[in-house]
Symmetry: C2
Subunit: 318 residues, 2 copies
C-alpha cells in the first residue's frame, strides 16, 4: 500500500487506445497509484465462454504480452483452435487465439464458481504480474446495443462480424441503469487522495458512454473532488483507430476534438487535445474548460509515457 | 444406405487400442457396414468443457488426424492454451491441445443447445469426414469410479492425474443401471443384417465393462442373433498398453489371454488371441468357445487391417 497522501489516479478506458494511455501511466506512476475502470459493454458469451475484450486488451497490454501489431490479443499467438472450429463448421467470425482462450476458459470457470468479474479480473491480473488495479465498470452484465440501418445489433455483431459497417442511429447500454455499484468502485471515487480522473482517448460512444451510463458511477464522477480530464481521440479531424469518426458523422456530430469535449461537457474540468487541433482550444477555453495541447498520437512507448506525463502535469493543482 | 442383406458389424471399444482395430475394420469394410459403440465412462467436465476422451480418440483416428505417436489427441497439435492456463495458475494436469479444444468447445456448445451426445457425435464426425457410424454407449452421464488404496477416484483423477498408480480394489459405473438405451443403439442390435459384435482389444475394466454395465445394452448383446467375439488385449502375458495387466494383478486375476475370455464368459461366442498365447486355446475350446489365433499386435496400418480381416473371417458363418 502507498502511504496516505500519495496521489492516486483513475482512468476510464476502452480497449486499444485506452490501453496505450494506461500503459504510459503505469510506466510513470507506481502501480498502486493507478486504477483503470474498464468498459464491459463489449462483453459477451461466445461458444460458452465469458469474453471481456476491453479487460483483456488492458490486461495483456499492462502484462507486456499484447500483440503490438494489432493492439489486442496475445503476442506470439497460435490459431489451432480456430482452425479446428472452422473444420467443425463452428462460428469463427470472432478471432479466438489459443493463448487468449486460456483467459476465457479460466474466467468462465471462475465466474461459474460464483466469483464476481471484479474478483476474477484481480486474480487473472495477479497471475500475469499486473500490479495496476484493473476493475470492470460493473459486475452486472451491461450490453452495448447499436441501433443501426441493419436493425438493433449486439456489440460484437456490429463491431466484429459486420466490421462496424452499418450506419449507427443510436446506442443503448442495456442493464446499465439497474447495475449496482461495485464495492471496489464505490470506495475508489471518494478516496481523498484521488488526484484526477482521466477519460482515455477511447471511442466515446462504444467505450466510455457505457461506463457513464451506470448511474452510481456517473454520480460519483460528478461529485468527486478530483478533476475529470478527457483526452481527445480525434486528431486533426480524424480518429486514429476504429469507427469513432464514422459514428460521429452518422450521428450528425462534427468530427472535431471540440465535439468530443462537448460530448463530455457535463463532466469535464479539463481537456487534452492534440497539437494539430490547437486552433480549437480558444473556443473551449472561452467555454470555461481548462485545455492542454500536446502530441497525443501514441506510436511508441515513449509517446505513451509522454502523454501520461503531460496528463499528470496538466492535472496537478496550479 | 447399403442394400438389405449386406453384413453389418458392431464394435464395442475404448480409446487407443480399440481405435486401432476400428480403423482396421473401417479400411476393409464399407463405412456403412461398421458401427462403433464407444465407452463414455471416461467422460468428464473439465474447465467447463464436456470432454469425451474415447469418442475423440476414435473420431480422430477414423478421421486420419490422430497423433500417431501417442495414439490420442491431434497430429501437429499446438499447446498455447495449456501454456496460458499454466501462466494463469489454472489446472493443467489434463493435457488439452489447442486443436483438440475446438472439439470440446463445439461439443459443449451443442450439448448446451439440447442435442444428445449421439447427435453431437454424429455432427462432429460428419464435419471431419468420418463416415463410420460412431455412437456413444449412452446419452446419459455414466462415470467410471475406481475404488483404490487412495480412496474412490473419478476416472481421470485415477488415470491421468495419478497415472493409474493407485492399487485398484474395485470398479463402479455410476449411472449405468439407470441409463436408458439410446434409440440409435436399440435398433442397431436387432438389425437382422448384423453379422458380428466385436469386443475390441481394450481394457475390460476401464473401457468395456462400462458399456456392459448398461442393462439394456447388455441384454441386447445377449439376445442378439449375431455372434459376440472378443479380441484379447493381453499378448504373451502382458498388456500392450495401459494398466490392463496391472489392474488384473491387483484384482487377483491371472494376467493371461484366457482370463480375459473368462471375464466375458457370459457373452462370448468366439475369442481371438495372439499367436503367442496359442497354448491357451485348447482349454478355451474345451470350455465350448470358438477360438482363433493370429498376429494381434497392431503396429502398422497393415497390422490393423490384417486383424480386421482375420476377425471378419472368424466371424463368418461356417
Amino acid at each position: 500500500m502507498l502511504p496516505a497522501g500519495s496521489p492516486r489516479y483513475v482512468v476510464l478506458s476502452g480497449g486499444v487506445g485506452g490501453a496505450k494511455f494506461a500503459l504510459g501511466l503505469s510506466r510513470v506512476l507506481r502501480p498502486e497509484q493507478l486504477t483503470i475502470i474498464a468498459n464491459t459493454g463489449d462483453d459477451f458469451t461466445h461458444l460458452g465462454l465469458a469474453i471481456s475484450p476491453d479487460l483483456d486488451t488492458l490486461m495483456y497490454t499492462l502484462a507486456g504480452m499484447v500483440n503490438e501489431q494489432t493492439g489486442w490479443g496475445c503476442r506470439d499467438e497460435t490459431w489451432s483452435c480456430l482452425a479446428g472450429l472452422e473444420a467443425l463448421g463452428a462460428e469463427t467470425w470472432f478471432r479466438l487465439g489459443d493463448r487468449d482462450l486460456a483467459t476465457h476458459l479460466e474466467r468462465t470457470r471462475l465466474l461459474a464458481t460464483g466469483q464476481t468479474l471484479t474478483q476474477v479480473t484481480r486474480h487473472l491480473c495477479a497471475q500475469l504480474g499486473v500490479a495496476v488495479n484493473l476493475l470492470p465498470m460493473s459486475d452486472a452484465p451491461i450490453r452495448t446495443l447499436i441501433d443501426s440501418d441493419a436493425g438493433t445489433l449486439a456489440f460484437q455483431d456490429y463491431f466484429v462480424r459486420r466490421r462496424a459497417e452499418p450506419r449507427v442511429t443510436g446506442l443503448r447500454y442495456d442493464g446499465a441503469t439497474r447495475a449496482p455499484p461495485t464495492a471496489a468502485l464505490a470506495s475508489l471515487l471518494t478516496d481523498p487522495d484521488l488526484a484526477a480522473i482521466f477519460i482515455a482517448p477511447s471511442n466515446p460512444y462504444l467505450s466510455i458512454d457505457p461506463i457513464l451510463a451506470i448511474p452510481s458511477l456517473a454520480a460519483a464522477l460528478r461529485s468527486s473532488a478530483a478533476p475529470v480530464i478527457a483526452i481527445s481521440p480525434i486528431v486533426g479531424g480524424r480518429a486514429l483507430k476504429g469507427p469513432t469518426a464514422k459514428i460521429m458523422g452518422e450521428l450528425g456530430v462534427p468530427v472535431t476534438a471540440g465535439a468530443i469535449a462537448h460530448h463530455y461537457r457535463d463532466l469535464l474540468d479539463g481537456y487534452i487535445l492534440d497539437d494539430s487541433d490547437r486552433a480549437e482550444a480558444d473556443a473551449l477555453l472561452a467555454g470555461g474548460l481548462a485545455v492542454g495541447a500536446t502530441h497525443t498520437v501514441m506510436t511508441t512507448l515513449e509517446d505513451r509515457m509522454h502523454l501520461a506525463r503531460f496528463a499528470l502535469g496538466f492535472a496537478a493543482p496550479r
